[in-house]
Symmetry: C2
Subunit: 246 residues, 2 copies
């Protein structure tokens, strides 16, 4: 097996991994963690790197350690739709499909914790708790996808943009659950370009831009010069526009 020093190095890597607290590795026993960490390998990517490509054979299963990844589906004429955004602790790769159904591209620099797909899959058979964890994660992903269906299918452009901003706020608030409402909590660092926001919301880049300035002119948000940092001035209004009372 692995030497003690190697094992401790690996498990110490796992100790600080966001997936340990939040993701697929949360709740693993130390035995399981040793098995898992024994087959993992960290890999680094830079913004723009394509990690997997639609229609390629599935080979990868990985956990996002840091950074943001977009999953996209593309029509033959190039029209593109972002179907999910992955962040820390999210899983990448379909364990069951033969081929990838989407492209995964780095939005920022990314660190992945990669597993050989087949060995990880084999591990599942003996560890039902791991499988249960995958099931709850898949259920959450399904819930998210269906929420986006409602947003993309039934909301107008302003509402779509507002929904995305509120969604980012909620996400970053969940990541660092301090007290709400302090000014710094209402700053959003946009991970996506206008084009990518359009690809997520089913709009064009120009429409996204126009509705961002519309929100700015209505004093709902402020924007910095580059348009990548958003200061939320009127959270109530933004949430009302997003229709996310649930």
């Amino acid at each position: 097996m692995t030497s003690p020093s190697v094992a401790s190095r690996l498990t110490s890597q796992c100790g600080s991994c966001p997936s340990r607290a939040d993701g697929i590795c949360c709740g693993l026993t130390s035995d399981e963690l040793r098995l898992v960490s024994g087959m993992m390998r960290h890999r680094h990517f830079v913004a723009g790197d394509q990690i997997i490509h639609q229609d390629d054979v599935s080979e990868l299963f990985a956990v996002v350690v840091s950074g943001t990844i977009k999953l996209t589906r593309t029509l033959s004429d190039g029209r593109e739709q972002i179907v999910a955004l992955l962040a820390e602790a999210d899983c990448l790769g379909d364990l069951f499909a033969r081929e990838n159904h989407e492209t995964a591209q780095c939005v920022t620099d990314v660190v992945l914790c990669c597993f050989p797909r087949d060995r990880f899959k084999a591990l599942l058979a003996d560890h039902p708790d791991l499988e249960r964890r995958l099931l709850t994660l898949a259920t959450q992903d399904l819930d998210d996808a269906r929420d986006w269906l409602l947003t993309i299918g039934r909301k107008n452009a302003t509402e779509k943009v507002a929904t995305f901003l509120v969604w980012l706020l909620t996400k970053q608030h969940r990541a660092q659950p301090q007290c709400m409402q302090t000014p710094s909590d209402l700053v959003i660092e946009l991970p996506l370009s206008r084009q990518e926001m359009g690809d997520l919301l089913g709009l064009t880049m120009e429409t996204v831009s126009r509705h961002m300035t519309k929100l700015r002119q209505a004093d709902v948000i402020k924007l910095d010069a580059q348009g990548h940092r958003v200061f939320v001035e009127d959270l109530d209004m933004l949430e009302r526009l997003a229709h996310l009372k649930r």
Copy 2:
């Protein structure tokens, strides 16, 4: 426990159930089937019945024995999006969420095979193969939802309608996998009204209707007087419009 006669009646019901061949019950051992059938109960609904309601507490887990169900999410002002259509052998009900995130309404008359949610959930812990099956089903649902995201976010109205028709063709062809291309294989019985097609595709009823007649005028399809039976005249063209070469 249950008497032998009851047990055999129940398992014989299961023998003809579509879920046994295709759904969650496929691959169960006879022991497992006995456990499962011991807690199941069939329930009948008519078209229009609401089975579960968005924001109610989750209590139901069920398999569709026959009929079609629409899952919808609704905004506070009434705008509605169909997020999935359930048919024979599909599962209804989220085992993990505390509250329903969507409404389930019968499109046709429906027969469900219902389970007490908590007892079924408890069963899972001892039967990892059942859990595995749920995981693959959830993964497929996720894949479907993301395909609809691409369709709704990036296709125009004609393409959306064509996509829905091809999707129906594929589905009914998979249900009865005889040889393709015979004339009767190219008849689609629409389960949804124009309004519901709009709710699925992110369009209005009028737009759906207009693009159906556009397809008719282009000799891609024919329609009967009621507009609920579609004869596909030019499958190639329909598939090209749907952009589903994958």
